[in-house]
């Protein structure tokens, strides 16, 4: 993909990355097991079977959530 460095907002924190990448590439980079999470990009939920189609660009905001104990 594009060679220019980008900055994403991941779970509310800025994170610099070397260049644009797909969602699966991001998850691999982060070491995240995609079976246990859900993802929203720029406030839109991304269905699990559509991860491959999502390219992340500079300024994108990504939320990665999981289940935790709660009442």
């Amino acid at each position: 993909m594009n060679a220019g460095a980008i900055t994403l907002t991941l779970n509310g924190k800025a994170r610099a990355l070397p260049g644009e990448l797909t969602l699966p590439e991001l998850l691999t980079t982060l070491g995240v097991d995609r079976r246990l999470i859900a993802i929203a990009v720029n406030g839109e939920i991304v269905a699990r079977d559509r991860y491959e189609s999502v390219a992340l660009r500079d300024g994108d905001s990504v939320e990665v959530v999981r289940m935790v104990g709660g009442g």
């Binding site: 097991d33 246990l36 959530v65 009442g71």
Partner: protein, 263 residues
């Protein structure tokens, strides 16, 4: 008691005790308590994954999810919009459309917003969610939520985690009297007597978290609540006596002996 099941959105359950998974001292305590509770519906929260430690396990990884209907909540959402967003994430995560809806703007008493809750419920019902809204024990609000298509109403007994029992008992009874969907008393229950009381007055179920998770012995307390809920439900079905101002002797009032001496 196969003839006394709880049915929510066409799904039937033998247990009328739902439990949360928050605030346990350890994953083992959580698993043991869930097991002892007999619960079939279990709530969870949705939170950001810790990206600095994405493989970290939580209590939930220790639970055998085949056994339970998972009920994600929207705890932490202050507005309808946030709750709808969280609900959609939850559905994506769990593959299930069941949702415990919480819209809570107030951090001190964690009381729900009637307006925001109704708005979110209307949106979520249209999106196909099975919505179980956490609400103040307001009978008219409960009616609105039922009309909006919610699967249950979940009036609060007292503030979340307060252990103060059901200080809304009168209102809960009015809700039960009017409701066409299951009424689940949620929040504030402190001991099995509170749970039994809810069921005795006709609530369909209760949801308990803090009272179990923070007890000295969570698994034993979970078992206590299981028994209390069963007791309350059976008492409801058995038809309790009326309250009377005066006494009513349990031993016969006739035939009392007398130490009469020679006449």
């Amino acid at each position: 008691m196969a003839d006394d099941e709880l049915t929510i959105a066409s799904k039937s359950f033998g247990s009328r005790l739902m439990v949360g998974t928050g605030k346990y001292g350890s994953p083992e305590a959580c698993v043991a308590a869930l097991d002892a509770s007999g619960a079939e519906i279990v709530t969870v929260a949705i939170r950001r994954l810790d990206l600095d430690n994405p493989q970290a396990r939580t209590e939930l990884d220790y639970i055998d999810w085949q056994r339970y209907t998972i009920l994600p909540n929207t705890a932490g959402c202050k507005t309808a919009e946030e709750a709808v967003f969280t609900a959609r994430l939850a559905r994506e995560l769990t593959g299930s459309s069941w949702l415990k809806l919480e819209v809570i703007p107030d951090p001190r008493y964690l009381l729900p917003d009637p307006i925001g809750t109704l708005q979110a419920a209307e949106t979520l019902v249209k999106e196909g969610f099975v919505v179980l809204p956490y609400i103040h024990a307001d009978p008219v609000l409960a009616r609105h939520l039922e009309e909006a298509g919610c699967a249950t109403v979940m009036p609060l007994g007292s503030p979340i985690g307060s252990g103060r029992g059901i200080f809304t008992l009168e209102e809960v009874q009015i809700i039960i009297e009017n409701a066409g969907v299951p009424v689940i008393v949620d929040a504030g229950l402190g001991a099995p007597s509170d749970a039994a009381l809810a069921l005795e007055v006709g609530a369909d179920a209760v949801l308990v978290n803090s009272a179990i998770a923070r007890a000295k012995d969570p698994a034993l307390m979970a078992e206590s609540f299981r028994l209390g809920v069963e007791a309350g439900r059976k008492a409801f079905r058995a038809g309790r006596i009326e309250r009377k101002t005066e006494a009513s002797a349990t031993s016969p009032v006739e035939g009392i002996t007398s130490m009469s001496t020679r006449g």
